[in-house]
């Protein structure tokens, strides 16, 4: 099973993890890292590396970041250069789909699933229900 590491500003990572586990129950090989405003990038990089080691077991890990260009993304970019798979723009639809589909797939396959799910999860509910 592919491990999942969430890295975001503030407490978004913890909140996303909490929301996901509220819906589908506690998940293994799944860690959340939140970044405070004064946090050191080098320390954050170390924390992400440690989290990846903790979750990856035999199948590697996927790092999901909140925002392109922010410090979580910058800290993760070092890992991306070393071959880690990092995706920016995590939302709850992406996270849910990734958590339930991460067994028996490659990291490339899971990445494609994640990207697709994130977009498909954005729905104009009013238009869908009322046509307007």
């Amino acid at each position: 099973m592919i491990g999942i590491v969430l890295v975001t500003h503030g407490t978004l990572a913890d909140a996303l993890k909490n929301a996901a586990e509220t819906i589908i129950g506690p998940q293994e090989q799944f860690l959340a890292i939140g970044m405070g405003p004064a946090d050191d990038l080098t320390i954050l990089h170390g924390e992400i590396e440690a989290a990846v080691s903790a979750v990856e077991k035999n199948d590697g890990a996927l790092i999901l970041v909140d925002l392109m260009g922010g410090s979580p993304a910058k800290a993760s970019s070092h890992l991306a250069f070393s071959g880690a798979q990092v995706i920016c723009g995590v939302n709850l639809p992406m996270l849910l789909e990734v958590l339930v589909q991460r067994e028996g797939v490659t990291i490339q396959e899971l990445t494609a699933i994640a990207m697709q799910a994130a977009k498909e999860g954005v729905i104009n509910l009013t238009r869908q229900l009322t046509g307007k």
Binding site: I23, I24, L96, V100, Q101, G104, V105
Partner: protein, 89 residues
């Protein structure tokens, strides 16, 4: 031998096919190679996508058509039927 199979199932879980039961279904479905769909009232969704499954809004007692298309379709239908018909998780 590849073949497509379908079976109509009555959903047993009191909580319906939401949240954790849906997650468990997808995790199980994903282990099979075949394509899996569920249909309710003419709406068909991909059984390996939790987001799609949640849009089906299946409740206890609903008649669901389960289809599997591929090499392990029979095993998938058998396993997933048990899961859908079960009353508890």
């Amino acid at each position: 031998m590849e073949h497509a199979m379908e079976r109509t199932v009555i959903l047993g879980n009191k909580a319906g096919l939401h949240a954790r039961p849906a997650a468990i279904f997808v995790q199980q479905a994903q282990r099979f190679q075949c394509q899996i769909t569920l249909s309710k009232n003419g709406k068909t969704v991909n059984g390996k996508s939790i987001l799609s499954l949640l849009t089906l809004g299946a409740e206890q007692g609903d008649q669901i058509m389960l289809t599997a298309d591929g090499a392990d379709a029979e095993a998938a239908i058998d396993r997933l039927t048990l899961l859908l018909e079960a009353e508890a998780e």
